[in-house]
Amino acid sequence: MTTRSGRRLLAAGAAVGLAVVLLTSGAGTLAGWHDERSAATGSITAGSVELTSSDAVLHLQSRQPVGARTFASSQTCALASGATECRVVTTGLANERLIPGDRVQIRLDVTLTGEGDNLAGDLTVDAGTVVVPGASDLSAAATTQITLTPPQGSSTTVDGAELVLPVDVGSGHGAGTYAVLVEVGLPTARPGGARWDTGLRAQLLDLDTLAVSFTQK
């Protein structure tokens, strides 16, 4: 049998049930307002840079009077300024006998390619390890000169073991083939001016690695 209080509870329960139904079945929600927009963006592609080089070619430039010396190599080459004879010694430098005043030229082409609107950097010719100074008195006395000829414009020459040339690939003027010339000179006198006399005999000119690099900056 349902009592009066029982009926009241039943009625209250029904009212709450109705309210819940009203709140949950209507169009509104309990969250705040919110609006959102979506925008398409896009794609970006990275640039690139690459440095390739040809095989190095070695020339021996002599200042001795023509015919005053012998060469192991018979392949001649273009004379440098002040030279009297030139031989290609790419594969046979070790077979030659050097004389004070000789210059050994290391020639190669490096090609810089790249893409990038802001791509700029330094093209560096590092001849610091071409001559190993501690190998001999001859190596210690050898001088190094670097000449870099860009695809456009004039050559740059430095006396020393490193040449740094700023290039701007993004501007369209930095890409292309650069001619690299490293000249190792054998001075006619010891450092300080003393004569070599017999000091050069059996001395070894130890040539090692020539490095060319492009570094973005």
Binding site: D35, E36, R37, S38, N118, Q216
Partner: protein, 187 residues
């Protein structure tokens, strides 16, 4: 023919029936009811209109690079990103905020990009000036949202080694930018 006379017992039942009938007649025919008094009047109130919170579609969409400057869509397609570059996507959105107590926050978000270049770049979406708390006074004033894409000059490899040839010719496909205007919680 003689009339039939009621017996005393039948007389009593007849009187009771008349009394009940009279009672019902009194109750039903006297004009009174069982309800309490009642009266009503109608009073005019007024209308309430809900506010509004909405956001326009992005406009004035543009691209630029820190060194180069503005990039058209065609220029962006031809553009090649290199370490140290910072590319900015910019768009304007205009909020509509109507409601005395309506305070909302404008945010910009972009999901992770795809493409191999995504492993190397930093991508950040933002509302210029930080996430903006906007009120009715800000309604109708355009706000700039940005996506900044940076290819770091160095990713912390060997000293002096830079990035080597990492990420070269890789492509970055940015996801859609989502700009949200959401009502703040009520205190």
């Amino acid at each position: 023919m003689s009339e039939t006379q009621p017996t005393p017992a039948r007389n009593k039942a007849l009187r009771a029936g008349i009394a009940v009938a009279a009672g019902v007649a009194l109750l039903a025919g006297a004009g009174g009811t069982f309800a309490r008094w009642f009266d009503s009047e109608s009073v005019e109130t007024g209308d309430i209109v809900a506010g509004e919170l909405s956001l326009s579609s992005p406009t004035n969409i543009s691209w630029s690079e820190a060194t180069i400057g503005a990039l058209t869509t065609e220029e962006l397609a031809a553009y090649r990103m290199v370490p140290g570059d910072v590319v900015t996507y910019s768009a304007m959105v205009t909020p509509t905020i109507v409601g005395e107590n309506l305070v909302a926050t404008l945010t910009a978000e972009i999901p992770d990009a795809s493409g191999a270049l995504a492993d190397w770049v930093d991508v950040e979406a933002s509302v210029v000036g930080g996430d903006a708390t906007l009120r009715a006074a800000d309604s109708g004033t355009a706000v700039e949202v940005r996506v900044v894409i940076e290819l770091p000059f160095s990713t912390g490899g060997e000293p002096g080694s830079g990035n080597g040839t990492d990420a070269q010719t890789d492509e970055l496909n940015l996801a859609d930018l989502t700009i949200s205007l959401a009502q703040n919680d009520r205190p």
